[in-house]
Amino acid sequence: MNELWSYDAHTLARLVRERQVSAREVTEALLAHIARVDGAAGRLLEPGQDPEAVHRAAPGVHAFITVTAERALAQAEAIDRALARGEDPGPLAGVPFTAKDIFTVEGTPSTAGSRILANFVAPYTATAVARLEAAGAILLGKVNLDEFTFGSSNESSAFQPTPRNPWDLSRVPGGSSGGSAAAVAAYEGPLSVGTDTAGSIRQPAAFCGVVGLKPTYGRVSRYGLIAFASSMDTPGPLTRTAADAALALQVMAGADPHDATAVTLPVPDYVAELAKGVQGLRIGLSPDYFRITRVDPATGEVYTEEVQPAIRAAVEAVAQTLEALGAVIVPDVPMPHTRDGIPAYFVISRVEAASNLHRYDGVKYGYRTPEPVDDLRAMYRKTRGQGFGLQPKLRILMGMYVSAAQYSARYYERALRVRTLIRRDFETIFDPQGPYRLDALLTPTTPTPAFPLGAVYGDSVLMQYADQLTVTANHAGVPAISIPAGFDEQGLPLAAQFFAADFREDILLRLAHAFEQATADAAWRRARPPAVA
């Protein structure tokens, strides 16, 4: 069977279940494909070693930090044995997947893309990963990310070379789930589990032309997720189709005794929901999501910039397609606090990050400075100074400043009140008795397509604004999905995003699926990334 590596999760699960192929054959096909397209895996380079030279010597997508080939083959054989015994091996039996290296997986290096955890081997498995494995999915490995998820380009990882965009290897895949998006786009597994704290699933999904679903906060357990901003971190799937995202969410979602924030609401049959279509769904368009508002670094003035015309056109085309399928488009929906998303995030996420990063101290696990020290405090300072990259340091320092007793009212408390206003924007538009009564809000995912490597990295303010159209979902807790919506003139993926009310992932998936079906014959749907072709 040709190109087993290119099949989606639904197809692979069916073929394995019907025993047309074995899970081992699927796994071997994927491992061989990874060896062909991924090039050098991300690793800690020696001082002075140039990541570009490593890339040139072994070019590729560089999605992976660790390929767990032996573990994957052992899992595949167990699936095949279960099938031979006539047992039900689960809805994802034989489906290979990857996990962002922010999820702990027992017995594997779980690095968070940081030097400080480079030698950490997790003693337990994250719930999201454990549930996928229990459903028969096969872990191919751990994929790269921005260090501790702190970035929107994947360039901040300590593990180099960092992932490239499969559609253009000179561009970033986005971040922080950049390895996940690059892997799915390059057919290195039809599913990757990522995390989204400001857009870290949706923005790289948009940049790489794949589906990225950020569930409602509390829909999927955070147990085993190396924490960034605990009130916003949300695990979710990246896939090539909406139906695969539905299948993955179905398996991952639900209450978990290990995470008190995982809600006890029943998990719908998301795959069955797809058939309901979009007839009568009310979809809003907001002018506040077609522009970016930010501070000019040179003058300090606030200015507004429109999203790129190709992105606007792609989103409008999605609206027209859905309208033709019977959805109702509601224009001019005000979302006035969209512009506050990034400034508030600069405060809230940093406070939570600083708190979460205090645990890395070189005592119980992870990196410890090899240099001689006089006492424990000196060991802490050297360990953290050497173990953390620039982005964790920046977040720790900002978080400590804006939450300090004398500044907290001015910064942290204000940001938490603004967060309430952002939440109210969504409550208003989704209120069934309100003026808009929307089922979903349709927006661009990002203001631009994927940018070149090195174009933004280092400018921490500009990088953060890559998330302005996505971060509001994390403040509000609502679910959102990014879907492929075509390509620009340079052949770079374009994307659209839907938001829905709390726990209405079913609506997001129906919209995504309906658009996918309606455009299935479009020429752009047949394009494959040059990195794969």
Partner: protein, 107 residues
């Protein structure tokens, strides 16, 4: 406009954060902190009604959807040695070894 995070304030934060920085790192980090604060000050232009509560997470956790607290049960990890192998330094009895802990003798 004067820089909000002065070199002295920055040094204080670095000490509290237990970070040892190179001069190049310190220059970059202080500059980015001040630039991020400019963006954060945008929030001051947003009117906040006086009765606006804080939101500590977006989704309300009302009892029907909130899991009950589980029992505070003791569950030993099955492989003590595997956990201890994660520690940078341990002794023969399984204690984690750290450098001298700063202390002062109370009189």
């Amino acid at each position: 406009m004067p820089e909000e995070i002065s070199p002295a304030l920055f040094a204080h934060l670095v000490e509290l954060a237990a970070l040892e920085l190179t001069p190049e790192e310190a220059e970059y980090l202080r500059r980015e902190l001040n630039r991020q604060l400019e963006a954060i000050h945008q929030l001051e232009a947003t009117p906040i009604p006086p009765d606006t509560p804080i939101t500590s997470h977006g989704v309300p956790y009302t009892p029907p959807r909130r899991a009950p607290l589980r029992d505070d049960a003791w569950r030993p990890y099955p492989n003590r040695d595997a956990l201890l192998r994660q520690a940078p330094e341990t002794d023969a009895e399984g204690y984690v070894v750290v450098p001298d802990i700063p202390h002062e003798t109370l009189t």
